[in-house]
């Protein structure tokens, strides 16, 4: 309680100070430069984002509220999708007029909330939890007529749980959208101890996968879409790899193995199982949910207890394997293949992943609340992932998510190769740049 009052005061003081740019001091020895007693928007004094040496962070904008995904038009305009309307607007447009990295102009439009937003070939695409819209951009990257939203997809399932619809486009005129399963493990009674798994899982007909639609056709429903991939419980972070011309997704693994099956799993196993998983998808792929989950210690697909599993029996022979397995419950909400030239060579064509941060690891401390980098070489993950941007939460130990000052959610690349990160707690937009110093 006291803590939150303190943070709130810190925020007010900083906003009142009207100095919203706090460049990270880099250059000191060690992987993470030591930061002086300098405050970042929404961070108490003495804390800031921790970045590898040579990288700097600026606060582009602050206080946008639930900022989910974001996208940067070729000309530099930033579009942020909100999960909660700000002054009646669900999309915020940020413009840096003098090129100092900080937004000088903030406008908004679109009276619907949601998560997905993406720009491609002169169009801005944005999703609510049921529909996808697009807007024509002019040569400056501005929406020509914010009142003229063209609805391209409609009637996607929203049953509260896992209802956000992330979007990405390929280079052939198709848009991909995740439709999350409205369930944890496809039990007859969701998240209820003792309730068996439904077999076959009926949810998979209309959710728990990726659907592909035409990007230029109005009012498409499920029937006009292609059921592109299945067996994915919930995907929030997804991206199109330009190098491989292929869709990549991060799955949120299932919850509550311990609470639902305390005879088979202890609390620590419940916290660490299953992995959060990165998949490279082909049309027709099945990632195995709800029948299997991925155990990063045994490195196997394990039969879910709701379907007769015991924590050891393997299954899902026809399901694909993940490319990378991350620690459990960290909630990957953003995925971005870096194609810019600003960052050092090792980052090119590798993947950044924004981990929103766990809620489901108690009594262990929570994990995530950072952006990681997974190196790639020749189109394959190469070497271990590493934490790239840390300390969004403003503290090392998070026991419950409400303590986190910020939670990274969306990722986008600017035309100059800078990396943008959105936070959906306070709505801080960060710009991360590299100058080697």
């Amino acid at each position: 309680m006291k803590k939150s009052i303190f943070y709130a005061t810190a925020v007010i003081v900083m906003i009142a100070g009207s100095n919203l740019i706090y460049p990270a001091l880099a250059g000191q020895p060690g992987k993470y430069p030591k930061h002086p007693d300098r405050a970042y928007a929404g961070h108490p004094p003495g804390t800031s984002l921790k970045l590898p040496t040579g990288f700097k962070v600026q606060v582009v904008a602050d206080g946008l509220g639930a900022s989910r995904h974001l996208t940067v038009a070729r000309q530099g305009l930033i579009y942020v999708k909100l999960a909660k309307l700000k002054k009646g607007n669900g999309i915020i447009v940020l413009e840096d007029l003098n090129g100092d990295g900080k937004a000088d102009k903030e406008t908004g439009f679109g009276n619907y909330t949601g998560t997905g937003i993406y720009t491609k070939d002169g169009w801005l695409y944005a999703s609510s939890n049921t529909d996808i819209y697009r807007y024509r951009l002019n040569e400056r990257g501005e929406v020509i007529d914010t009142a003229r939203a063209e609805r391209i997809v409609t009637g996607l399932l929203d049953r509260h749980e896992h209802n956000s619809k992330s979007i990405v486009l390929d280079n052939k005129g198709f848009i991909y959208v995740n439709i999350g399963a409205y369930s944890n493990a496809c039990q007859v009674q969701d998240r209820t101890k003792g309730s068996p798994g439904m077999n076959p899982c009926p949810i998979l007909d209309s959710a728990g996968g990726i659907w592909q639609f035409r990007a230029d056709k109005q009012d498409q429903s499920y029937g006009e879409g292609v059921h592109y991939a299945t067996g994915l419980r919930n995907v929030v972070g997804l991206d199109w790899s330009q190098q491989l011309d292929q869709l990549f997704v991060m799955q949120h693994g299932r919850d509550q193995l311990f609470q639902l099956d305390p005879d088979l799993f202890n609390a620590k196993q419940g916290a660490e199982l299953p992995a959060e998983t990165l998949y490279a998808l082909h049309k027709g792929d099945n990632a195995g949910w709800p029948y299997v989950y991925y155990d990063p210690f045994q490195k196997k697909k394990i039969l879910a207890p709701e379907y007769g599993g015991d924590g050891k029996k393997t299954a899902g022979e026809n399901a694909i394997d993940p490319l990378v397995a991350f620690p459990g419950h960290m909630a990957p909400d953003g995925l971005l293949f870096y194609t810019g030239k600003m960052f050092p060579e090792k980052y090119r064509n590798g993947a950044f992943i924004a981990f929103h941060g766990s809620w489901n690891r108690a009594p262990e401390k929570q994990k995530g609340y950072f952006v990681v980098f997974q190196p790639f070489a020749n189109g394959k993950p190469a070497g271990n992932w590493e934490i790239f941007a840390d300390n969004f939460a403003g503290t090392d130990t998070i026991t419950s998510p409400a303590e986190a000052l910020h939670r990274p959610c969306g990722l986008a690349q600017g035309p100059d190769g800078a990396l943008y990160v959105s936070d959906d707690v306070k709505g801080t937009i960060y710009k991360i740049t590299y100058d080697g110093k």
Binding site: H160, N163, R191, Q259, W359, A362, T399
Partner: protein, 154 residues
């Protein structure tokens, strides 16, 4: 609120006022037979235990919830509010996307009617109503059993 819950209110309104949250409880109402409750000395100790095993994963150690997913139970109008509604939420679960202080929550709350005994529900709710900034009277075993019966007869 779904129609079942509304029915509970109507039933309560029509004569069953004695189990409303304002009604004083006899001391005997709070004595929960051992077969109906979790182990532990006092109702608060037992309720805390049920909370930690059953509710905490979603509602968190400090009852602060998970933003956007699971609502807080701190200073909750539901926890501190009408006992029948509260008991009904635990027995039946909730997937309405409740709005609390302008925020909604996307996860479903599972039903605990097959998972928890009536005494465990009374204990955990009494615990919640006297902790985390909630200030309301305890819930008795009889109240929980009564609501379970009403819901069953529906």
């Amino acid at each position: 609120m779904n129609s079942m819950m509304i029915t509970v209110y109507i039933l309560l309104g029509a004569g069953a006022v004695c189990i409303g949250s304002q009604a004083p409880l006899a001391a005997a109402d709070l004595l929960i037979p051992a077969t109906h409750r979790a182990p532990g000395q006092t109702p608060v100790q037992r309720g805390k235990k049920v909370y930690e095993q059953t509710c905490m994963p979603c509602h968190q150690v400090d009852a602060s919830g998970v933003p956007g997913m699971n609502p807080p139970l701190r200073k909750s109008p539901y926890v501190g509010g009408h006992s029948a509604r509260l008991i009904g939420i635990v027995l039946q679960g909730l997937n309405d996307g409740v709005e609390i202080a302008g925020d909604t929550y996307s996860n479903p709350m599972p039903a605990f009617s097959t998972v928890l005994k009536d005494g465990e529900i009374a204990d955990v709710l009494s615990y919640l109503r006297s902790h985390f900034g909630n200030k309301a009277g305890p819930i008795s075993l009889a109240q929980v059993s009564r609501i379970r019966q009403i819901l069953k007869n529906k």
